[in-house]
Symmetry: C2
Subunit: 341 residues, 2 copies
Amino acid sequence: MPENLRDIGEFGLISRLDELIRREGVQSTGLSLGIGDDAACFRPREGYEILVTCDCMVEGRHYLSAHIRPHDLGRRAMVLNISDIGAMGGRPCYALVSLGLKADTPISDVEAMYLGFLRELNPFEASIIGGNLTKTENGLFIDITLIGEVEQGKMIRRSTARKDDAILITGYPGQATAGLEMLLHADSHEDLQDHPLIRAYTTPSHRAREGRAVALSGFATAMIDTSDGFLGDLGHLCEESGVGAILFQESVPMSEALIQASKQLGKDLYDMILGASDDYELIITCDRESVDQINTILGSINQNPVSEVGRITDAQDGIQWVLPDGKAKRLTPSGWDHFSE
Amino acid sequence: MPENLRDIGEFGLISRLDELIRREGVQSTGLSLGIGDDAACFRPREGYEILVTCDCMVEGRHYLSAHIRPHDLGRRAMVLNISDIGAMGGRPCYALVSLGLKADTPISDVEAMYLGFLRELNPFEASIIGGNLTKTENGLFIDITLIGEVEQGKMIRRSTARKDDAILITGYPGQATAGLEMLLHADSHEDLQDHPLIRAYTTPSHRAREGRAVALSGFATAMIDTSDGFLGDLGHLCEESGVGAILFQESVPMSEALIQASKQLGKDLYDMILGASDDYELIITCDRESVDQINTILGSINQNPVSEVGRITDAQDGIQWVLPDGKAKRLTPSGWDHFSE
């Protein structure tokens, strides 16, 4: 039997994780007091505002433990929070991690998960400054609060898109849902872990650097990350901004891997691209004259694709999908609704 | 059947809670962006540091739903976070609430819980600025992150107690555990809800105002709240400060209700006072010459008792318990360990 929580207890685990964080993590600047007191404390930088987000992953609901390794689970849980900070234009600084664990959870799994958290935080010189551990009788949960900073006045909201703006999307939305489908249909998982679509699901990339660069440039009018799927989050952006949108089927990005998976799985390609998918790409709106500048900014960070896929319209038009022959149909954005499914 | 989450869905519940927060909550000063985007945003005050804590309550683990009403559960979950901010000398400002809910949870229960959160936050002009809702198949959980502020240099830590300091405790530790025992042994709960010991368990008071006043006075050397019980948290304070402590049995505070409950339940009075109990009182250490000043400060806030119960000693003495006849025995601090129990 591997060493588990029952063996070393809560305080034993806390001190093990403390040591791991000290050894493997970085020290954030501005931190006055980290883990170990009633609260953590940091000194905010002058000229900055503070961003805060929290997101939760529940076993059996947001992931299946048979399908994801603890290290990847840690990375994924942190990525989705980093993505939220990046989608506002911020830089992640401090994380608090609440874990609900079963008494027989192997200590090595918890440590692997923390290594996953740190792997995502370290590049930002962000650190884990608090959290808590709770025993649950049932499934594991991970609830992360991530605190970031953004220069005053530079935050980009989802509610400020304007009519006639261009709509850009980074990467290939739909890859994560294709990866999940492949996992669910596979006989064995181990040999699949390095497939690009499965990596897109188990350890998605965030676009936080991209989001921050776009925010600081001042060229974007609105931004949101795609955690509810492309159409779901475009729907949120439109609703909050009081606008509609038109999407051109011909402009929507698709990777070769996604096209292959669509055939293999017998799933409609556009359903995967538009539907619920945990991709953590960015939807960016901007003046049509600023598209080139945004492309240049994003191209200077990495080679991930950016695609101009449509335009912002009036609210009463809803979200329209334009086929190659020019015919349009109205789409109903339905984000991933966690209770009504 | 009462209206539940399956009926209105996640986005339906979010908009109901949004409305409730707008109607019943206060608007924090400094908030740039509240609920509804990828992250919330606030502008920190100049000359202040930021405090952050998070605490989690799991159904069947930290509370039994048959023993506590949703409104009280909300209050209690928020109180334990407010207590942490207060024990550092801070003022609560912003809360994020993560809820794991079952699909058949009545909406009215969730709303009652939120009213409980707001009831505790409103007096501080603190508000709920984010969070998330997750469906769980099993028990409910509430994970709250609370962000506060404290004047630069005024934070009080648990790790800075010094030899010969006086040890003070607010209120009557042990009342919460007595209340819990009464609930567990009662045939019916409804008529007990207003019993002072049961109130001490279901809706404990925090001492955040007291903690803040003590911190701003500069008279305390160290401070911690009692969430693991008097002895457990005194143990944390001693360990972190690298000191020992001596406690005088004759000086330990006990309420009439606690004495009665001890007889009624057949439980040792001092076991209840010293052992695991969710009281959220404060242990404060200070120079022995400053005890009167701290008493005066606390007395100006309310009439809750403050008792001088002992002195800080050398680390090698551990924690000693002095009986009325002068004989001493060594106590083993054992905080509430969530996994090894």
